[in-house]
Symmetry: C2
Subunit: 192 residues, 2 copies
DNA sequence: CTTGATTGTCTAGCGATGCTAGGATCGGAC
DNA sequence: GTCCGATCCTAGCATCGCTAGACAATCAAG
């Protein structure tokens, strides 16, 4: 039995290596540079090995997205738990979100811009994605205001953050004024 | 001279045909289906003809984006001019924006999701793009609130709309609650 | 220890992509 | 009628995601 277990471990290890390498390559040179050939060469295996772990490139992107969602949830919770008072918490959450997007552009793309073949807003949505939204909800629900459903408020606030993140990174918004934008957003949207 | 003029006219006409066909094909089957071969076949010319008009596929996407920006600006102005009172205007603007994105997904992608090789937030930004932002500014500047720069307010409001548009279309947000989201956004962000 | 089968991996190749070089063809100018 | 330049197409390159089939390593059975 031990032999099979070892093989399973090695297989899982290699799968992690694939995901980590894809992510690294995407962060370094963009997702366009993440071709199955280059990826295979970097992990020092041949192309078909990738397909014994994932159904295709989409699933690899999806795996990076899930990994990213886990990290984002942790980053958001770390930011909110270090702040006291609803207003401070929301601001910290917003900054943490935008910083995560700015520091991990490829991961953010995998989560929200690219097609990773993941389900959203369904029951079969992967747990890490649900959890990332839950982390948003935890920090934002308390400032939704009277008579406003926390989930609805979170969706709107999240959409605003997502818009700021993507438009800024795509060069549609000048990056200098990020801070006043965040303050305006929190000032107006959050009922504190 | 007349011969040259006719040829120029025909050339311009063919260029319009290329852009219109690319847009049509993208709306019908998505941008992935817009390959240079398929596009060439539809306009009944060979592939290289495309490259005598555009530097590459990116520039074709960019041309669709510019065309879309012109239309969006017109749609936004039509919506705001038909409404009276700041509050009604902003709501109409938001609805018009989201409706444009929902009804012209491929064009919206060309403008904001794909790389059309266009400059943004610079002096060499194409005029239609500047004008679309100007249309937003016209409708939103008056509700920025005291001490808030209209351009900054417009950026934030726009980012929120963009986030709603993209997250909804990508299936990240359930589409049913679009209307309450818009109302919440206008309620909170606009100082009316 | 040998054998046979199963598992794992690689080489080679398919169709499709964006893009380009070089030859053919057509039309206007003399 | 003849030439020349502009215009367009055929053919091809490198690269893409993905897969079939050959090959080698590994393990259980005799």
């Amino acid at each position: 039995m031990s032999v099979q277990e070892r093989k399973q471990r090695e297989r899982a290890e290699r799968e992690r290596l694939i995901v980590a390498t894809a992510r690294e390559l995407a962060e370094q040179q963009g997702w366009d540079a993440v071709t199955t050939r280059r990826l295979a060469e970097r992990i020092e295996y041949s192309q078909p090995v990738l397909y014994s772990h994932f159904r295709g490139k989409r699933e690899i992107i999806g795996a990076v997205a899930i990994e990213g969602a886990t990290e984002m949830a942790a980053a958001l919770r770390a930011a909110t738990s270090a702040a006291d008072g609803p207003r401070t918490r929301v601001t910290a959450l917003a900054r943490a979100y935008l910083e995560f997007a700015a520091r991990n552009p490829a991961v953010y793309d995998a989560m929200f811009e690219l097609d990773g073949g993941l389900a959203f807003a369904h029951e079969d949505t992967p747990q890490p994605l649900k959890d990332a939204f839950a982390a948003l909800l935890e920090g934002l629900g308390e400032v939704a205001g009277d008579g406003v459903h926390p989930a609805l408020f979170t969706e709107v606030f999240w959409a605003a953050l997502h818009g700021l993140a993507t438009l800024t990174r795509a060069g549609r918004l000048p990056p200098e004024d990020t801070e006043p934008r965040v303050e305006l957003l929190v000032d107006r949207l959050a009922m504190v």
